[in-house]
């Protein structure tokens, strides 16, 4: 089940049915989908580990799609993805925390927009979305700042674990015979006689069909097949995560009334028991590095404190920034090019975590329709991931040798994440698999012990052997 192939392995002559470019949540969902369908699939990811790009930093919310554009592909994928997520969550041990959401109006203008939000939700088939009065809102959210004029409730919005879920997709694909190469960048490619040969940093990869799920590099990869019909301009979102006691201050996801350009800054609990405020929406040309700005972070804290005054005095546990693959188009850029054996899954700008399973199912549909019949799928092998959610039992509940005290991570959990399947290859990857070093001390107490355990296995953390 180990999948980290190195250059020089005798694999270059293999022919795959499908090569997925990009190990983010969309690529991994597609990988899972086609592996489950019985195809011989390889996924190549340029980062040291999966989830190295857009998927490593998001708001970690499973959306109903209540506010998505009615009739759009995005809405259809979100709702299909939402339904499948709920269906497979018990089998893969994906945690779910149904917090619900409230879109809160703070001005008469925003209040006037609430009926439209309800109407849009109903047009999207999310029929339990309704307006509530301030009394009801404050009964549910007593820590919210005074002055709310009204709100829309969205009962079935969930907070989820944005990293365990795609890891579960990867594991399930691997269990069905898939292959994942990490640290493998695609440099170019050519198609001859119905077969793609992708030139990668690990040597040539041959596949009959290619899926472009390259996220923030989607248009660059698209140019291998054709002049890209879209241009990616990453939209940066900075976030502030408050320490666990702050999670008492918001029961639900607190959303502002959205603007044309962005859904705005939200506040919500996280699946790890913290409270998150963000994101910003800052367009940039840089595709890989999401830099934090101290003044912007202070502004986010101020915005959060305006929303929830008691946040003043709560301590900050983490700050991060993510890059969403925005394009000049609002909707997803999803297309099948039958003659080229190419499927584009591009421009998944901000709803990819929710929509990924729906996007993958849609891609399978396009494949079956335009490229080749999908074989009869075998019964799925379920690969449950370890639970990292705070509200559900974790291994440390039974005791054990705790290595990370802030997040109650056991040494055994870290050792498991450093071993197969798909062992962590970067410190970020290890953190995402275990929560180690993600707590309030950020590694003051445990980073040296983690480095000893990792022993040079992580590209960005020195070990005794490096």
């Amino acid at each position: 089940m180990f999948s980290l192939h190195l250059p020089g392995d005798d694999v270059a002559d293999l022919e795959y049915d499908l090569c997925v470019i990009g190990g983010g949540v969309v690529g991994l969902a597609a990988f899972r989908q086609f592996c489950l369908a019985g195809l011989n699939v390889i996924l190549v990811e340029r980062g040291a580990d999966i989830l190295s790009g857009a998927s490593k930093g998001n708001s970690a919310i499973l959306h109903t799609g209540f506010d998505a554009p009615p009739g759009s592909l995005e809405t259809a994928c979100m709702q299909a993805g939402y339904a499948e997520y709920l269906a497979i969550a018990p089998h893969l041990n994906l945690p779910l925390l149904q917090t619900g959401a409230h879109v809160v109006a703070w001005s008469p203008e925003e209040q006037a927009a609430l009926p439209g939000i309800v109407a849009k939700a109903h047009a999207n088939g999310v029929m339990d979305v309704a307006e509530i009065d301030p009394t009801t809102l404050y009964a549910r959210e007593p820590h919210l700042a005074p002055g709310a004029l009204g709100a829309v409730e969205v009962p079935r919005e969930h907070v989820i674990d944005p990293w365990s879920a795609p890891l579960a997709y990867a594991w399930q694909g691997l269990a069905h015979g898939g292959t994942i190469w990490r640290g493998c960048a695609v440099l170019g490619g050519a198609r001859r006689d119905g077969l793609w040969t992708l030139d990668t940093t690990h040597g040539p990869v041959r596949a009959r069909t290619v899926i472009n799920a390259a996220g923030n590099h989607g248009d660059v990869v698209e140019a291998i097949a054709r002049p890209s019909p879209f241009h990616v301009r990453p939209r940066k979102g900075q976030f502030v995560v408050f320490d666990k006691p702050a999670s008492r201050l918001a029961a639900s996801i607190i959303l502002p009334v959205p603007t044309e350009r962005t859904k705005g800054v939200l506040a919500c609990r996280t699946i790890w028991g913290n409270l998150l405020v963000g994101p910003t929406a800052e367009d940039q040309d840089e595709r890989d590095l999401a830099t934090l700005d101290g003044a912007v972070l202070a502004g986010l804290i101020a915005a959060g404190t305006r929303l929830i005054p008691e946040l003043a005095g709560e301590t900050v546990t983490a700050t991060y920034a993510g890059l969403r693959p925005a394009t000049e188009f609002k909707d997803y850029q999803i297309e099948v090019l039958p003659n080229l054996g190419w499927i584009t899954l591009g421009g998944i700008r901000s709803t990819g975590l929710t929509a990924s399973l729906g996007i993958a199912a849609h891609a399978a549909h396009l494949y079956g329709e335009a490229i080749d019949t999908l074989p009869q799928a075998p019964a799925p092998i379920w690969t449950p991931v370890p639970n990292l959610a705070e509200h559900l039992p974790r291994p440390s509940a039974e005791g054990g040798h705790l290595i990370c005290h802030c997040e109650a991570v056991t040494r055994a959990e870290v050792e498991a994440a450093l071993a197969g399947p798909l062992p962590a290859t970067s410190l970020g990857g290890l953190k995402r698999r275990t929560r180690v070093m993600l707590g309030r001390c950020q590694g003051f107490y445990c980073s040296a012990a983690v480095a000893c355990l990792a022993n040079g296995q992580l590209v960005d953390m020195p070990g005794a052997s490096t």
Binding site: A48, V241, D243, K244, P245, D288, L289, A290, T291, L292, D293, G294, A295, L297, A298, I301, G313, T315, V316, T317, A318, T319, Y320, S396, A397, E398, G399, G400, H401, L402, H405, C406, A408, L427, G439, R440, C441, Q442, G443, F444, Y445, S447, A448, A449, A451, C452, V459, D460, M461, P462, G463, A464
Partner: protein
């Protein structure tokens, strides 16, 4: 492991072990719970000398000092349970414990919190830039160097000039890591002499004052930092950043528990007998007041032990006591409240966490009436000691207030 004890102590640093040894020597049944695999606290990984003068009348390195604290405690009959985390502290002196042996419960007549303090991480400092490997606190640097034998980077910038920042310099030297510069946001070095002499003369490290770390650069590993001084930004190439000082109490255990915390100090609020708002639970050491030396924490542990022994004799007064208000340029004062009666407490102290030096008057008042005042010059991170008598008198009158009235800043 035992299910009952006279005293359960959380944390095996100088405060916890200082208290434990004194209590065991007085004949009490004492259990110290330590979540790390080794007892001794932060000094375990401070490889340089400077410890033990107050406690053992000799200079020791941190690890030797920690070993001595542990062996003295064991010799006195203290049970030290390492690798054991306190998951919850509940009223009635009950500790829920987790260790490789599983989950257990320990109930004690007195609980002493001695969980110490840690440095503020990068996130809570709201530092901009990318998030590569190589940005760590002094505590982590020391653990890499003295416990793991791993060199985390090769050329580091040290942020801060507190006492611990100079400990970081010594650690860097020990690890063979070049110190590029020290960067201090304030106009002068925070630590008392001879810290700055060590930097300038012994280690030849440039100290950049009035300079603020703005941004960290690098993809996988740090490649440099951007520093701003007098409105000008410049870049310092390095592959590591040591974020030193800015200590905060380690209160993970009690943040969501039943004890009142002082927003100013970040630690539990206590009375003059080290009792938190749960009279069965006491607190001592740096969890009360980031940050003092190991010797101060040790002495405070001993003073808390004396309070526990007094309570066992029925000598401590009860009651909610009088809250002491803090104002005017002071971040916090402790003890946070005073209970009338009982044996005379040790010295009452308060510390200011002013970001800039200030000159003015310290004033103790009650109901608007000044009971005591004197001219003072406050410096960041420096402890200021107050006479006990006027504070106790103010508490007796009620509406007790400790304030710093600024005359001028410099």
């Amino acid at each position: 492991m035992k299910a009952q004890a006279d005293v359960a102590i959380v944390g095996s640093g100088p405060a916890g072990l200082g208290a434990a040894t004194a209590l065991a020597q007085a004949g009490l049944d004492v259990v110290v719970v330590e979540r790390e695999q080794e007892a001794g606290g932060i000094p375990r990984h401070c490889g340089h000398t400077g410890y033990g003068l107050r406690e053992f009348q000799r200079l020791l390195t941190g690890p030797a000092y920690a070993r001595r604290l542990v062996s003295d405690a064991r010799a006195a009959g203290v049970a030290i349970e390492t690798g054991t985390t306190v998951v919850a502290l509940t009223p009635g002196g009950q500790l829920d414990l987790a260790s490789s042996g599983g989950r257990t419960t320990l109930t004690a007549r007195h609980v002493l919190l001695a969980t110490g303090a840690r440095e503020t991480p990068r996130s809570a400092r709201l530092i901009g830039g990318t998030r590569p490997w190589g940005v760590i606190n002094t505590g982590a640097l020391q653990q890499f160097t003295y416990l793991s034998g791993i060199r985390p980077f090769s050329r580091a910038v040290v942020i801060g000039t507190e006492l611990v920042s100079f400990s970081a310099l010594l650690t860097l030297r020990h690890a063979g890591i070049a110190a590029v510069a020290m960067v201090e946001a304030g106009p002068r070095i925070v630590a008392r002499r001879p810290g700055d002499w060590i930097a300038r003369l012994l280690l030849d490290v440039p100290v950049l004052v009035s300079s603020r770390l703005v941004e960290i650069e690098g993809g996988t590993q740090v490649t440099g930092v951007v520093v701003e001084r007098n409105g000008t930004r410049f870049r310092l190439p390095c592959d590591g950043v040591v974020l030193s000082g800015s200590f905060v109490p380690e209160t993970g255990l009690i943040k969501e528990g039943h004890l009142a915390l002082d927003r100013g100090s970040g630690g539990p609020a206590i009375d003059q007998f080290f009792r938190t708002t749960d009279a069965q639970v006491l607190a001592a050491g740096n969890v009360l007041h980031p940050i003092e030396t190991a010797g101060v924490a040790w002495a405070e542990g001993r003073a808390a032990a004396a309070a526990i022994l007094a309570d066992c004799r029925g000598d401590l007064p009860c009651g909610p006591g009088t809250q002491i208000t803090v104002g005017g340029g002071l971040a916090y004062a402790y003890p946070q409240r005073v209970v009338a009666g009982g044996p005379p407490p040790g010295k009452l102290m308060f510390r200011a966490r002013a970001t800039e030096a200030a000159t003015g008057r310290l004033v103790i008042s009650a109901g608007g009436q000044t009971l005591w005042s004197r001219g003072a010059r406050l410096l960041p991170e420096r402890r200021v000691q107050l006479p006990a008598a006027p504070v106790l008198e103010a508490a007796r009158i009620g509406e007790a207030r400790i304030a710093f009235e600024t005359q001028a800043t410099s």
